[in-house]
């Protein structure tokens, strides 16, 4: 442990968002150029479209939208190295109450949208977050919050979030890249593991993850490096054993998620010299069964400014849905259900191995 502590202090770097650095990868167009053609413009992998075509899945169509995923803003108290949103404390893009009201209106009109998945940034940092959750519960929707855990301890005003979540029966999904401090802090920043453990204990304290409480606490694993996740099932057992033995923590399920080559993770792949090998690995692990079950087929993603996307990844690449219903103000379920989903080489991230989605593997 002492060795690890020393290593971390030597590696201590204050992370800045790409946006704040005015980095070329802060621009979605520049990212897409690299994702499609590589750094030198001549990196040619088999096109994702061709793989879908071979599986009889192209053009990729929705199977019926059930999940309404709302990105309520890019502001975050953390600056994780792998973040595809390029979220951080300096990001000012925050969903207004007006856009939230338009979301609520769409939910009233479309009862088939049963699940509302709130993401960010740290969604709790949106000043209208609690109001929005309360309104969503009035509409009797299943609400998921993607909570980064440390936000609960970041400021006194967030300390009662576990009670707030419990009171409204919100499902909490939290990133914990690993059950050891070293790997978690390397990805998410110094001190994140320790605070995450404290936050998990607070969530357990109000009943989250406990048998028969009805309060669901799921954790997210994602690789801290240029590699794919191992077996979700095996990893869940290891997490459960390690977190229980070391910290007395319980949780429901572990979701193993593959990192997509977007934003800060793309930057990491490029600067570490891993980009080509990682993309080749994703392509080699392509699984047509996972392709048939990708989450964009039953999810619609709403950006902080109300624009609609096939998924949170396409949102960050500024690829708006390919139909006339491009904004929450113009939401048309039939239009959206008939659209073709926009695909690109980044989609290999969701179809590798057992597949990957915001709910973990898809096969």
């Amino acid at each position: 442990m002492i060795e690890n502590a020393n290593k971390i202090s030597l590696e201590k770097v204050v992370m800045k968002t790409l946006h704040r650095q005015q980095h070329e990868l802060a621009n979605a167009h520049n990212q897409l150029q690299i994702i499609e053609h590589g750094q030198t413009g001549d990196f040619a992998l088999v096109p994702f479209q061709q793989k879908l075509d071979e599986a009889g899945l192209y053009p990729l169509k929705p199977t019926g939208i059930q999940t309404f995923q709302v990105n309520v803003g890019k502001m975050c108290n953390q600056v994780c190295k792998h973040c595809h949103v390029d979220a951080g404390p300096d990001r000012k893009e925050i969903m207004t109450k007006e856009i939230m009201q338009q979301c609520l209106h769409v939910l009233v009109q479309n009862p088939s949208l049963q699940t509302v998945d709130l993401t960010g940034g740290a969604p709790e940092m949106n000043p209208h977050f609690r109001w929005f959750v309360e309104e969503l519960k009035k509409l009797r929707r299943h609400v998921i919050v993607r909570c980064n855990l440390t936000i609960i301890l970041a400021n006194k005003k967030y300390n009662d979030l576990p009670q707030f979540f419990a009171q409204h029966g919100v499902e909490v999904v939290s990133s914990l890249p690993f059950y050891t401090q070293d790997r978690t802090d390397r990805q998410r920043g110094n001190g994140v593991f320790e605070d995450s453990i404290k936050a998990l204990q607070l969530l357990n304290g109000v009943g989250y993850g406990m048998d028969n409480s009805g309060l669901v606490l799921n954790l997210v694993y994602n690789p801290a490096g240029a590699f794919l996740p191992p077996s979700q099932e095996a990893l869940e057992k290891e997490y459960k054993t390690a977190l229980m033995e070391r910290y007395g923590i319980r949780f429901n399920q572990l979701f193993a998620i593959t990192n997509l080559p977007i934003s800060r993770y793309l930057d990491y792949l490029l600067t570490s010299g891993n980009y080509e090998k990682y993309m080749e690995k994703l392509v080699a692990a392509y699984n047509p069964v996972a392709a048939a079950n990708v989450m964009c087929r039953n999810t619609i993603s709403i950006g902080w400014d109300g624009y609609l996307y096939d998924c949170d990844f396409n949102q960050m690449l500024d690829l708006k849905v390919a139909c006339s219903s491009k904004h929450i103000a113009d939401f048309s379920m039939s239009d959206l259900n008939e659209r073709s989903i926009i695909i690109g080489q980044h989609c290999f991230g969701c179809t590798a191995g057992s597949g990957s989605s915001c709910g973990g593997t898809v096969t």
Binding site: F178, G225, F227, S231, A234
Partner: protein, 113 residues
């Protein structure tokens, strides 16, 4: 292509399954057996990966070392744990050399005045 004048090429690891081109039946049997060996069973796939890493070093196979360094790290072993596994291989190999020192001593004692 014989353009690379050396015995080991990292790109050859991905061609491992090509050994079936010259003898398919035996290759199929080997890869099927190999796949079975590394499944979760009495030992977990994770534990087997660490054993494979240590053995890779003991047999000094560069392909195996590449493959199982990635695999063991992906399966959650830490750098320190992986290095300790390599030390286990080193200790056994070193021990295997040194324990023969007894044979040497026996022979010397047999012939010395």
């Amino acid at each position: 292509m014989m353009s690379e004048n050396h015995y080991y090429n990292a790109a050859d690891l991905a061609k491992f399954s090509n050994i079936g081109e010259y003898q398919k039946e035996l290759a199929d049997k080997f890869f099927s057996y190999y796949g079975e060996v590394f499944k979760d069973s009495a030992l977990s796939a994770r534990e087997k990966s660490l054993i494979a890493l240590a053995v890779s070093h003991a047999v000094q196979c560069p392909y195996c070392i590449d493959a199982y360094s990635s695999d063991a790290y992906e399966k959650g072993w830490s750098e320190a744990q992986m290095m300790e596994a390599v030390h286990v291989a080193g200790a056994i190999k070193g021990g295997a050399v040194l324990v023969h020192g007894v044979q040497m001593m026996n022979k010397v004692k047999e012939i010395a005045m």
